[in-house]
């Protein structure tokens, strides 16, 4: 177990380093002159070559690739994300401000997603093939097919424009978070419902269950001790992927609802060629991914040590 954990950690570090290097290289080699883009973002005017060259030196764009990479990576290891090449301010305060809008939203979406899908899947599988089961599959399929931006606009139209119950744009009050959280959460719920449903059905078809029943084990105990753990294995797998969809959806949903979160932060940074900002978001996202997947991998091994393990 300890060896397996060390292996997982090593893999996580390699993935993080690879992501950092790849992002840096991609941005470094992106077409166009970043110095010019930064200067435009800063001064918003017609520029002379002198000004652009000065920006190039200030932003450190005149260094060679490896020097620049190491100059960035060194402080990063001490959690220093550097300074914005547009505003010159440290990256971290702006980044953490953006995260303050995004993380609660992501968490709320996840809670809504799990809170809707778990009971729905459970109820649906009580009578497989029954009307509730078929309805849940239909709704879930529809839900997966509907893009977040369409659902978001629809919700704005209904709840903000027609009914005027909830605010549509901005992020001033917690009420501003309801529509974006529901938009994202329903998408998560749709795909999770399908996975949990099929997980439960598969778990219920396990060959040892009839023998347990014949042994006199009650159905509540069978559900709790045998069906649930077996159903959890595929759900865990998908939860990691679900996070990817969630982050993807966040960028769109933040744009639709005009929230100043990580998504807007990233889009603005890309437009302005603010490399330190872009790199910070990518590294942060990679860190979240790697951490979540690490936790899932460990949970897997606790649940079923046959996965990737050597001994019982």
């Amino acid at each position: 177990m300890i060896a397996a954990l060390a292996g997982l950690l090593l893999r996580a570090v390699v993935v993080l380093f690879g992501t950092a290097l790849l992002t840096f290289a991609l941005l470094w080699n992106s077409p166009g002159d970043p110095a010019q883009a930064i200067a435009m973002a800063r001064f918003d005017a017609l520029l002379t070559d002198d000004v652009i060259d000065q920006v190039r030196v200030e932003a450190g764009l005149d260094r060679t690739f490896w020097v620049a990479f190491l100059d960035w990576l060194g402080p990063l290891l001490r959690l220093d994300f550097g300074h914005s090449s547009v505003t010159g301010r440290p990256v971290w305060p702006d980044l953490s401000n953006a995260m303050g809008y995004t993380f609660p939203l992501a968490l709320a979406a996840l809670v809504i997603g799990i809170g809707v899908s778990l009971p729905l899947a459970y109820l649906a599988t009580r009578r497989p093939g029954g009307w509730l089961d078929r309805a849940s599959v239909a709704v879930a399929t529809l839900g997966t097919a509907i893009p977040a931006y369409w659902l978001g606009l629809l919700l704005i139209l209904i709840f903000a424009v027609h009914l005027a119950w909830l605010p549509a744009m901005g992020a001033r009050t917690p009420a501003h978070g309801i529509l974006p959280a529901v938009t994202l959460g329903l998408g998560v719920a749709a795909s999770l419902t399908r996975i949990i449903r099929s997980g439960i059905l598969e778990a219920r078809a396990r060959p040892f269950l009839p023998a347990l029943r014949r042994r006199g084990v009650g159905s509540a105990a069978i559900g709790r001790d045998h069906v649930a753990p077996h159903a959890a294995v595929p759900v865990l797998t998908v939860l990691g992927l679900e996070l990817a969809f969630l982050l993807e959806g966040l960028v769109l949903v933040e744009a639709i609802f005009g929230r100043p979160g990580l998504g807007s932060f990233l889009v603005t940074a890309i437009m302005a060629r603010d490399f330190p900002h872009v790199q910070a978001v990518v590294v942060l996202t990679a860190l979240i991914f790697v951490t979540v997947n690490l936790v899932i991998d460990v949970a897997y091994r606790i649940l079923d040590p046959r996965i990737g393990g050597r001994d019982a």
Partner: protein, 225 residues
């Protein structure tokens, strides 16, 4: 206490898969139920268990393979506790049962696949013996094991049952196994019991077509179990 069932009948989807069957067993009896695949042996086993339980007898069941009895995600200790709880906290001498079946060396903290298959099956048999049931139904208990391990398991089970009131029903298509382990035989074909009697008689002078077909292959005399 004699175990008696009469008029056992199973209809599934409008088709009779078990025609009216009656049987009675005395404590300590060893009964074999043989027949080709699909003849209705397991159906008799399940119907018998349900009927006898309904009468208030304790009956346990050992399925064909340990995969059909043990959850791969749960430890052996968990399975054992669960079986004890299901039987209502009867007094069990686990150590004695385990040493009788030769699995006292097994690590209870491991999951089923951490044990050999032979040990898993003997663990399942041990679970079936919790509380000394009136009848233990073994449904093809050795077909998932290699012959030597299977013979050893059956020897251990037989030795444990000796002097106890637990009757045994052995469901098998393996006549060699039945010949060595049971004193009475019931031969099944197409959902009916077509022949019954003492094991030697049926083996020596099979009357029904099904019994003759089963005994025609003399190779059953060669296998060790």
């Amino acid at each position: 206490m004699t175990l008696t069932v009469s008029g056992l009948r199973v209809v599934r989807a409008g088709r009779t898969i078990l025609h009216s069957t009656s049987l009675s067993m005395s404590p300590g009896d060893r009964m074999g139920l043989v027949g080709s695949s699909g003849s209705g042996k397991s159906t008799v086993g399940h119907a018998l268990i349900d009927d006898l339980r309904g009468q208030g007898h304790s009956v346990s069941h050992v399925p064909q393979s340990p995969d059909e009895a043990l959850d791969p995600l749960r430890s052996m200790a968990f399975h054992w506790r669960e079986a004890e709880r299901a039987l209502g906290g009867v007094d069990v001498d686990r150590a004695a049962l385990f040493s009788a079946l030769g699995i006292d060396g097994g690590d209870m903290g491991k999951r089923p696949w951490g044990w050999s298959r032979g040990m898993q099956q003997r663990f399942v048999i041990a679970m079936a013996l919790i509380g000394t049931p009136d009848l233990i139904v073994l449904d093809e208990p050795t077909s998932a094991l290699d012959p030597v391990v299977a013979a050893a398991s059956m020897d251990l089970l037989e030795r444990h049952l000796q002097g106890r009131d637990t009757a045994m029903m052995l469901i098998t298509h393996d006549l060699g196994l039945a010949a060595r382990r049971v004193s009475q035989l019931m031969v099944m074909a197409e959902g009916r019991v077509v022949e019954r009697g003492a094991t030697e008689d049926i083996l020596a002078r099979p009357q029904s077509v099904a019994a003759r077909a089963l005994t025609a292959h003399k190779s059953w005399a060669m296998v060790p179990c």
